[in-house]
């Protein structure tokens, strides 16, 4: 309890930044001293010697002077549209002191404060003392307790409350016992009360039980971390204390959060390192595989003992493998170099945008020999879209060539000897971007390979996906998706009833 007069403490520590006024009364309720900004409260007509009813209507209904308790919880009044607390305090120094404070809050705020006041008064009638604390010192009483305001849906700051539970009659206002009304506002507190009552009913050694922290959210969406404790004291009183979680504990939690965030980052880095190790293994494997054919072919050709046609075939095979290696290296560079800035550049102007027909024919021509070498037929069906040569699409020409190259190489790699790869160009309604259907073109590539297993489809376009390309780095399809999405198009894998894989890309017309 404070050693100083409660009102002076309030004036000093709570209301220094608020409008306030105080009126000192004698035991008859006669005004003996006034301080503060009376005019702001519309009380500038108040005179020393006035009695209740003379000039201050507010004095009419105040429980003066028959106050035995040292502290009386405030009443709330709306004075000239302002929220005004009227505190009446019995002073050991003799005269009673009437204390006024106001914040000029809006009516809505007043409503919530009023509810808090009513609740505090109800608790008081139950013998539950409610105090407000700052910095370990009790500085006020009752209604300003922010935990209570949070519970009834209002606002506040740091506080502690302690109550001795009574067993009196029901609260007349809502037909519930006030303490029950209080805890019903908080499911957490309601749950904790089970533990508290268990403690209070027990005769064991245990004197204190804590709830652990919980958070109440007020109507303004602000969060209030709180902690409740229940205690059994020697004089038989049962205490329930609720306090805001101290700042130092909040700081501990911040440190804990930082530690956890670091843990997550560390785990993420470990995963990244693991993935890169796998990737490195795949890259080495991919680069090594064609090298065997190249070295073997050159060794055979070096002696000059092979017939010309066989030597040509060996060299052609070596050349194809070298090109494959080159493609792989380019793919890796695409995926790992300063890809973002490079990938952002593309043409949307119909005059300068790449011509779909030109790029597609170039890609087909680049791969025709490789297809022949593998005995796979490569066909283009552009019957649904005449005038392909002049069709400008939103893309970057060089990158679009790489997209087709990736898909054609992919199809060849999975095609059986004697198989067929069919490239079809047609208008489409399928496009991820917000384009009119008529403004999109679909290019599908069908092969007669084994297709993509269902479990691999979902991750097919992610980086390092190796489902269909076991042992490969899994970058080609990822590259395709990245650039196509950058251009407002997309790529997908389509299930086919017949055997084989179908990849479909969609491009917007420039």
């Amino acid at each position: 309890m404070p050693t100083d007069h409660a009102c002076r403490t309030l004036l000093r520590s709570v209301l220094s930044d608020k409008r306030h006024a105080s009126v000192q009364l004698d035991n008859e309720g006669c005004v003996t001293l006034t301080t503060g900004d009376l005019a702001w409260f519309g009380l500038d007509g108040l005179r020393l010697g006035d009695r209740p009813g003379d000039s201050l209507e507010l004095l009419h209904e105040l429980p003066l002077p028959a106050i035995e308790r040292r502290l009386v919880l405030p009443r709330m009044e709306l004075v000239h549209g302002r929220s005004t607390d009227v505190h009446c305090v019995g002073s050991e120094e003799g005269p009673l002191l009437l204390f006024l404070d106001a914040t000029g809050e809006a009516h809505r705020e007043l409503h919530f404060q009023q509810r808090g006041n009513q609740l505090a008064l109800a608790l008081r009638s139950w013998g539950i003392e409610v105090f407000e604390e700052r910095g370990g010192e009790i500085v006020g009483f009752g209604t300003g307790s922010p935990w209570m305001r949070a519970l009834v849906g209002s606002v506040g700051g740091l506080s502690v409350a302690a109550g001795a539970l009574g067993t009196g009659a029901a609260d007349e206002e809502d037909g519930r016992r006030p303490f029950e009304a209080l805890v019903a506002a908080s499911p957490f507190l309601e749950n904790f009360l089970v533990d508290a009552r268990r403690l209070w009913a027990s005769g064991g050694r245990e004197r204190l039980v804590r709830s652990g922290e919980w958070t109440e959210v007020d109507e303004l969406g602000r969060e209030w971390p709180l902690e409740a404790s229940a205690a059994r004291v020697d004089d038989g009183r049962h205490l329930l204390m609720i306090r805001s979680v101290p700042d130092d504990h909040l700081r501990q939690l911040e440190i804990l959060q930082a530690a956890r965030s670091r843990d997550l980052e560390l785990a993420g880095l470990h995963r990244e390192v693991d993935r890169k190790e796998v990737l490195l293994h795949c890259i080495v494997h991919d680069l090594l595989a064609p090298l065997g054919s190249i070295v073997g072919g050159l060794s055979l050709a070096r002696g000059g003992k092979l017939p010309q046609d066989k030597a040509d075939a060996v060299l052609e095979q070596g050349l194809a493998q070298a090109r494959r290696q080159e493609t792989l290296i380019r793919g890796m560079l695409d995926a790992f170099s300063a890809e973002l800035s490079a990938l952002e550049a593309f043409e949307t102007d119909p005059k300068s945008a790449p011509r779909l027909g030109e790029v597609l024919h170039a890609a087909l021509n680049d791969h025709r020999l490789a297809y022949q070498a593998r005995g796979v037929e490569l066909l283009l069906d552009e019957s649904a879209l005449p005038g392909l040569e002049d069709l400008a699409v939103v893309a970057d020409g060089a990158r679009l060539l790489r997209v087709f190259a990736n898909l054609l190489e992919n199809a060849l790699r999975h095609s059986p000897r004697g198989g067929r790869v069919l490239v079809t160009v047609a208008p489409t309604e399928h496009l991820a971007a917000d384009c009119e259907p008529a403004e999109a073109i679909a290019v599908t590539i069908d092969d007669q390979g084994p297709g993509v297993p269902a479990e691999d489809v979902e991750g097919l376009f992610t980086r390092f996906s190796t489902g269909r390309n076991s042992g490969a780095a899994g970058l080609g399809l990822h590259f395709c998706r990245r650039v196509l999405e950058t251009w407002g198009g997309d790529i997908c894998y389509v299930d086919r009833e017949e055997a084989g894989a179908r990849f479909r890309i969609a491009l917007a017309l420039a």
């Binding site: 957490f188 089970v194 652990g212 919980w214 971390p225 956890r260 992610t462 980086r463």
Partner: protein, 168 residues
Amino acid sequence: MIRKKICMLGAFAVGKTSLVRRFVEDSFSDRYVTTIGVKVMKKQLTHADRDVTLMLWDLHGDDAFQTVQSSYLRGSSGLLLVADGTRAETVAVAQRLLERATGEAELDVPFLLLINKADLKADWDLEASALDEQLAGWTVLETSAKTGDGVEQAFEILTDLMMERDAD
């Protein structure tokens, strides 16, 4: 009005708060903010023409620094165990928490396991087959608090299970 208490249980940073926020407020934030203790949020819905209020107890993550008190689980009608698909070890934490709920807290209520962060599926380090073996008999759903995928469905399924349990 029927009131059902659901506790969200799981390791730290698996997305419990984000799932509740997605379900209650349909919002999401990428910023990780650790939950201080317990936060209770409400969501009202209609189930078979009956008004149901779900009291969602978002409990802090369980780890070496903070342990979930069994008393928080008292009165629960259902549990949502949450794991992070990118951290396989969080499934074991969910299992441990369920053991505590059924053991210490003596709960016998419906539960689901949510594998959250489905939007990061490329980064998942869970094997579906291993999960099936490890969690035989569990109902496992994939969710993403970020995109909202599977979130509403998870709460609906659990509500169905809780109401069915009542009917029994």
